[in-house]
């Protein structure tokens, strides 16, 4: 295993960044997999499982690189299964409960639109390992976005009932979108070193995609009011502890076992 350092950037900032990417994928993948067998149509069961599968694959890559970079011998599994909530770096948006299927779709769409921009920007990361992961993931996420955007439009512009549910989902989730675009010191480090984009730089494109989609879905874009944040620095919602208790049970209850 190579543990070549990234000479031009603060290692802690880079580790932080890799956790954020990996944890977003892991926790959203977890939420999606909660739907397994309970979706409103067979095609949706298949699509959700597929999206979750892509996200878990991406988790392995991001957290694998994080562990490698950290150089303390931690694997992707160690990072996924043996950290407690405060050490997780995903945004709050992905840990929101599934709610009804409309909320799950809206969460997916709002995240996918950011995720794709992010990954596209990371394809030109100065670090080839990051660029390679982004290249692979971007292809998958482009498909996720196609799907979630299409469904948001069809349900927004469907029945009065489907419109109402999508509107409520949008209003509920909107305060959790701001965190995607707020940079901190680690983000600045990375941007300065050419390893990744400044989060703020992704906002215009996201606004465009989201705005157009919502218009087509006949949904009103909420005003940018107070935005919830904390996940990126390890301050999560009360849901996170329950997610981890479930996800990590076997690794915690049977320390040292291999599976």
């Amino acid at each position: 295993m190579s543990s070549a350092p990234f000479p031009t950037v603060d290692q802690a900032a880079l580790f932080e960044f890799l956790l954020r990417m990996g944890d977003n994928a892991l926790i959203l993948g977890h939420r999606l997999s909660e739907w397994c067998g309970h979706a409103p149509a067979l095609e949706e069961d298949i699509a959700l499982a597929n999206t979750a599968l892509d996200l878990i694959g991406q988790t392995q890559l991001w957290l694998g690189l994080a562990g490698e970079m950290e150089g303390k011998g931690r694997t992707a599994d160690n990072l996924a299964y043996l950290r407690d909530a405060t050490e997780f770096r995903n945004v709050l948006l992905v840990e929101r409960p599934n709610g009804d299927f409309g909320k799950t779709l809206m969460r997916q769409f709002l995240f996918d639109a950011w995720h794709l921009s992010m990954l596209q920007a990371l394809r030109s990361s100065a670090d080839k390992r990051i660029a390679d992961i982004a290249e692979k993931a971007a292809k998958e996420v482009a498909y996720h976005l196609d799907r979630s955007r299409d469904l948001v439009i069809r349900l927004g512009d469907g029945t009065a009932e489907s419109h109402r549910r999508m509107r409520e989902a949008l209003d509920d989730l909107w305060p959790y979108t701001g965190e995607l675009f707020i940079g901190d010191a680690a983000d600045e480090e990375l941007a300065a070193a050419g390893l990744g984009p400044a989060p703020e730089s992704l906002k215009a494109e996201w606004d465009g995609v989201v705005g157009e989609t919502l218009t087509e879905a006949t949904l009103k874009k909420p005003a940018d009011g107070y935005m919830q944040r904390g996940g990126k620095r390890g301050v999560h919602t009360e849901h996170m502890g329950f997610i981890l208790a479930e996800m990590q049970f076997l690794q915690r209850a049977y320390p040292g076992a291999t599976w």
Binding site: P40, I46, Y81, I153, R154, D157, S162, Y254
Partner: protein, 314 residues
């Protein structure tokens, strides 16, 4: 009747029956019942395994399990399509499932209680399913036979993955090995029951055999399954929970005990450990999803109207 005789001759000659062709009503009904039951089993079968996705012990195992459950939903899709060629809609089949008229494989009414159960389902349940399904690749009804070719390929893959889960665990800690033995103890008999009651007690067998919808007897397949599985259990260092199990040199196979058929019929009758929850979960998914399906349908209508209006204006 000459039509029926001609039909039977085609089947005897090994020809495939295709959707638009004439077929006896009994043949059609038997196939609809069997294919839809098989499709429902795939769908309901997502639930016991899905129960462990969020708790899979490593990212790789989680990915493998997700892929497997996704495959099962895919199998459900092929099978519903195959059944639809016989003139029943997917929604009608769902309706029959939800009201309890249509059945699904009783095996999914047992709970998954540990991670080893995920391995055991792959190894035993998929193993038994393959035993049942391999001959169906040569079934007389074309669409069903072709769906089975694809399904069997994926199922073999699942079975190997399941065995691999257990092989890894039995090499692990004593607790892990105990988990595997416990899983075998709980899944062994239900797996044997998957082949159905002994042939004497089986209702539809004779006609289905003549129609080449069914190609082997229940007892034949059960024997084959036991003969294949016992050495694998030995390899894993496990004890098959059947005191009557013994190699019979004369027949070149194992002698083994009878499953508790009383339990089998209780589970069929709805009294298994998870019947109410499985069916309840499927009904709830369907009912909760009504707004979603209606939303999509309404959008499709609107889009069509816009397209037509655009054409009229253009």
């Amino acid at each position: 009747e000459p039509q029926e005789r001609a039909f039977q001759e085609r089947i005897d000659a090994g020809q495939k029956i295709e959707p638009k062709e004439w077929m006896p009503e009994g043949y059609r009904k038997t196939l609809v019942r069997q294919i839809s039951q098989h499709a429902h089993s795939e769908i309901v079968g997502q639930l016991p395994e899905g129960n462990w996705i969020t708790r899979a012990p490593t990212l790789e195992r989680k990915a493998i399990l997700l892929a497997k459950v996704q495959d099962e939903a895919g199998h459900g899709l092929y099978l519903y399509c195959a059944a639809e060629t016989l003139g029943i809609s997917r929604d009608e089949m769902y309706e029959q499932l939800h009201c309890g008229k249509a059945k699904y494989s009783s095996i999914f009414n047992y709970p998954t209680l540990s991670w080893a159960d995920i391995g055991a389902i792959g190894w035993l349940v998929d193993g038994a399913a393959i035993m049942n399904q391999v001959p169906l690749q040569r079934c007389s009804y074309g669409p069903y036979a072709r769906a089975m070719v694809r399904i069997c390929k994926e199922e073999s893959f699942h079975q190997r993955q399941g065995f691999d889960v257990l092989a890894k665990m039995v090499k692990g800690t004593p607790a892990q090995k105990a988990m595997v033995q416990d899983a075998l103890d709980r899944w062994w008999w239900p797996s044997l029951m998957m082949f159905g009651p002994s042939d004497d007690a089986s209702v539809h067998s004779a006609q289905s055999m003549a129609w080449k919808i069914k190609q082997n007897s229940n007892d034949e397949l059960r024997q084959k399954f036991v003969d294949q599985t016992v050495p694998q259990a030995d390899y894993l260092g496990l004890t098959v929970p059947d005191p009557e199990l013994k190699w019979n040199e004369a027949k070149g196979g194992y002698d083994f005990g009878q499953p508790d058929w009383k339990e089998f019929f209780e589970v069929i009758a709805g009294n298994g450990p998870c019947n109410a929850e499985r069916l309840g979960a499927r009904r709830k998914a369907w009912d909760d999803g009504a707004w979603f399906r209606e939303g999509l349908a309404a959008h499709a209508t609107k889009a069509e109207q816009r397209r037509t209006a655009g054409q009229a204006a253009g």
